[in-house]
Symmetry: C2
Subunit: 211 residues, 2 copies
């Protein structure tokens, strides 16, 4: 696969997700622990699938006839099999712009804090049935994670944050990202929650080779 | 998931595939052995994704920007991890009408023979680089599996076989099938080669419950 901008010589793993993506939510619960088992860090990247789908012509899963019904079933099944809580949001997909901007704001401060914020936003949407398309809800969730309310409110309208998100999405596209979750490790791309076992196998193989 | 026509009270497993589908090819290599470990039979159904995609608005994987490049990579990776031979056909997708008709003709005679024919057609396309969109190639492959050449030639243009294939595709859509491979076991739908471990887990659970 020719993806010139993949960070090939880099031990960190890149993880792209959209806050409106159930499969992204499931992957977000285990990706860091999985990577840590092999001494690897994960860089999280919030993207806007709506923008990417405009380029690829794809549609949200829920809107595809027959597939829309299937994925509702699949998400409940993954929840049952993994024990990860999941409640179908009343509206999906939603605009994840505010959540993604808040994530980037948090990441500028501290990548570890940003991951906590991301998990809290995902939990708000997929467990607590909160409407994270609403900036006010995003601000609440960020405040709960320790971010100053006024600063988050300001950041959501900050032109530098807006531009940072546009850059993040453009970089994702340059890396071949077309869906959520999307992972690149050691130059190898993995699309979908169901590719995590393959990612783990590859990390294990590489880890055993280096010992 | 509301799929009224799924055969809920039936121990047989239904397996839908398109002859032009690499993930269908991979699933076809292991589905029968997987089911047999739990004393279950598999009914194979050849479908035409082109027809189904017209209804759902989906496009062939290879034609989706970025995703097209990814799946090329993914198919090689699955081949490497599973040890199943795979050579990227020069043309994909292709029309699988002739192959599907030959399969139905064989299935009318003997479902076990039809599975051998299907595996041989898949092998011709994904290993031997033969153009199974060509009726002459399909006839050759069928003959190799013991079917009389003249009868296969006649069947490919037979109105009853044509209608049987239309019925097969319509039944697949009624069962919620939107891609290949698609499996239904005990009323539960599984889309994609990567759902085989979930299928196996469900069969194992049910098998242990009934003991």
């Amino acid at each position: 696969m020719t993806t010139p901008t993949l960070p090939r010589d880099d031990r960190a793993i890149d993880f792209w997700f959209d806050f409106s993506s159930p499969y992204g939510y499931f992957a977000a619960q285990s990706i860091d622990a999985l990577a840590a088992r092999y001494g690897r860090d994960v860089r999280w990247h919030a993207i806007l699938l709506g923008v990417i789908f405009k380029a690829t012509g794809a549609r949200p899963l829920s809107d595809v006839p027959l597939k829309g019904a299937y994925v509702l079933y699949d998400w409940q099944r993954i929840s049952r099999l993994t024990g990860i809580e999941y409640h179908q949001p009343s509206s999906l997909p939603i605009s994840s712009v505010a959540a993604a901007r808040a994530f980037l704001f948090a990441r500028n401060r501290d990548p570890a804090l940003a991951k906590r914020v991301a998990r809290a936003l995902y939990r708000a949407y997929f467990v607590e049935q909160r409407e994270i398309q609403e900036p006010a809800v995003v601000v609440d969730v960020c405040e709960r994670e320790g971010l100053p309310r006024a600063e988050v409110e300001q950041a959501l309208g900050d032109e530098r944050i807006k531009q940072a998100l546009r850059d993040e999405v453009a970089q994702a596209e340059a890396c071949g990202v077309f869906g959520s979750p999307f992972i690149v490790a050691d130059g190898e791309p993995y699309f979908g929650w169901d590719r995590l076992p393959m990612l783990e196998a590859a990390l294990a193989r590489r880890s055993s080779l280096s010992q």
